[in-house]
């Protein structure tokens, strides 16, 4: 475990010392910030409309919920944003190490492959955590002005972290197979988008194939978290995806040793 933490530390610091890391942070912060601003405008309009309607209604105005109008859509939109950002976080993990041949040196060290894979995963997860910290700051602004329920908010962020970890493990797996980081990013993005489509095709009366496609969509699995609800099935899904793809990444690094 100690060796994995050393690898993780190096991986995380590499993001903080590269223009790519700052570019990803900036793009994420800007995009997530714009999403929040747009949602706040919509929320303000809802408040104004409610105030106008409420003045005429018996019993006073019905105030829209900040959880429903801002927090839930923000978390779901941020999850969608992560689908586009995380491929660029995970692309370098193995593909770049392989291109620069530093993986050759790392594998010559007295380490086991799982320690390298776990270290890379923790490093990427730490950077994903940094991205989510930006979102925590965003919602802190909302909390300053309003009083959303903290429990659903915390559940939403916990789900977002699980969502990011699962996608990171998928990205690491693709990076372990790809010959270069651009190839890794494009393939990961393509895979994420295909998986994300599952949530868009959800129908209550779908066939088993459609249901399977929908249930395999990380975005669909996240929806309940976004609503502030804890779903054991969704937790299990994200944990299973993470473990499965980390195991596949270990196999992927093994394949590098076969292919060279």
């Amino acid at each position: 475990m100690r060796a994995a933490l050393v690898v993780a530390q190096r991986e995380f610091k590499a993001f903080l010392r590269s223009p790519l890391g700052y570019a990803l942070l900036a793009v994420y912060a800007l995009a997530a910030g714009l999403i929040l601003i747009a949602l706040l405008y919509v929320f303000r309009d809802q408040l104004l409309r409610a105030a106008q309607q409420g003045a005429q209604a018996v019993g006073g105005p019905v105030t829209p919920s900040v959880q429903v109008a801002v927090v839930t859509p923000y978390l779901i939109d941020v999850a969608t944003l992560l689908l586009f950002v995380l491929p660029f976080v995970t692309m370098r993990a193995f593909a770049e190490e392989r291109r620069s041949r530093s993986l050759e040196l790392l594998i010559s060290y007295p380490l086991r492959v799982w320690q390298i894979v776990l270290g890379k995963f923790l490093g990427v997860a730490a950077f994903a955590g940094l991205l989510l910290a930006v979102s925590v700051l965003h919602l802190a602004v909302v909390m300053h002005a309003t009083t959303p329920d903290l429990l659903p908010l915390a559940t939403g962020f916990a789900g977002l972290l699980l969502f990011a970890l699962a996608l990171s493990s998928v990205g690491l797996f693709v990076s372990s197979l790809a010959m270069g980081q651009v190839e890794a990013a494009v393939l990961t993005l393509g895979l994420f988008l295909v998986l994300a489509m599952g949530s868009a095709t959800a129908r209550p009366d779908g066939s088993w194939l459609r249901n399977a496609f929908v249930n395999l969509s990380p975005l669909y699995q996240y929806l309940t978290f976004g609503q502030g609800l804890l779903s054991a099935g969704a937790v299990l899904f994200f944990v299973a995806v993470t473990v499965l793809f980390l195991a596949l990444t270990i196999r992927g690094v093994g394949l590098i040793k076969w292919r060279g």
Partner: protein, 337 residues
């Protein structure tokens, strides 16, 4: 030269044991039935032209690539079945060491040390040791990306040595270094010889001659010769082809020189240029001489009053042998296929 530098290899178990190693890339066999050992106290050179399979063989030896057949043991442990334990005895320097340019030297070496199991005071003393040996103390705070080629190579060697491994595998360690840096590197390798087993790949034959106790010649993935540089040089020992041009008034520059049968003397020009003092005739001497014979010739020419105008050395016996082994072997295999 090899025999002059030779220390006694340990009689214990070899630190590197390679048996019947093969590596295929699809239909192409990059390494073909490689078998050899390296023991403590010896420097073994892996020689071969570009594309001979040296780097592929080294990648398999350090566990980066899985062999298609055969076995590799580091300090008695199988590098694929007991990878982490086997590699604890290994220090590896790939060609053009792939370092993390964004890290500072001390930070990088500290990471390498921790990945190799060092911590606390053991790590601190290991860092101080490699920085002292490789002269890195002055650059320990600098980012690796800002270092010169020579310093990057030193950092590569430092990461290789940080855990004081018994076996060093160095892939083209002198590539890209200037003559001073190459001399420093050679001195370092010589100083480590008695306490470590060293396998180095090179295509610089002079390096093999100076450093190695044994050389393994690879051609198209196959081991085509193994032995001391002198043995591989054949009967000529360490002889080199030389061309010497001298000027003097004597009848024959080789007159009175014992053992001059391997030299031919040809008079080139007897007349001085117009307006130039007559300095005597110009003679061209050609032949193949070993080090002792070259020293005798030089002393003879100086003692006999001949002016030395030109002295050039051609291929050494090892170089000739290398060309013969790698070119002939290659063409024979092509014919066979």
């Amino acid at each position: 030269m090899g025999t002059e530098n030779a220390s006694s290899p340990s009689s214990g178990r070899p630190l590197l044991e390679v048996s019947s190693l093969t590596k295929d890339y699809g239909p192409v066999r990059a390494v073909d039935g490689l078998t050899f050992e390296v023991r403590k106290g010896e420097i073994v050179g892996l020689l071969g032209p570009n594309g001979a399979g040296k780097s592929t063989a080294m990648r398999v030896l350090v566990g980066y690539q899985v062999p298609s057949g055969g076995e590799v043991r580091l300090a008695g442990r199988d590098v694929f079945r007991e990878g982490a334990e086997a590699k604890a005895a290994l220090g590896y320097l790939p060609e053009n060491p792939p370092l993390y340019g964004e890290m500072r030297v001390r930070e990088y070496l500290s990471m390498a040390g921790r990945l190799k199991g060092l911590s606390g005071s053991a790590l601190e003393s290991a860092l101080a040791r490699v920085e002292r040996i490789l002269g890195l103390a002055g650059v320990r705070g600098r980012p690796i990306s800002q270092l010169s080629r020579g310093y990057r190579q030193r950092v590569g060697l430092a990461q290789c040595l940080i855990h004081d491994p018994a076996l060093l595998i160095l892939d083209e360690p002198a590539t890209g270094l200037d003559p001073n840096q190459i001399a420093d590197l050679r001195a370092l390798l010589m100083s480590w010889r008695s306490e470590k087993a060293i396998l180095l790949s090179t295509h610089i034959l002079a390096e093999a001659l100076m450093l190695c106790d044994r050389v393994l010649v690879l051609s198209r993935g196959r081991l085509v010769a193994e032995g001391s540089p002198q043995t591989l040089g054949g009967e000529g020992g360490g002889s080199s082809e030389i061309v010497v041009v001298v000027r003097g008034r004597g009848e024959d520059p080789l007159a009175g020189l014992a053992g001059s049968a391997s030299l031919q003397a040809r008079r080139e020009d007897a007349r001085p240029a117009a307006g130039q003092a007559d300095g005597g005739a110009i003679w061209r001497l050609e032949g193949s001489l070993d080090r002792e014979e070259r020293a005798r010739l030089l002393a003879h020419l100086a003692g006999s009053g001949w002016d030395l105008l030109e002295w050039s050395a051609g291929l050494s016996a090892l170089e000739r042998s290398f060309r013969r082994l790698t070119l002939e072997e290659g063409s024979q295999r092509e014919e066979g296929e």
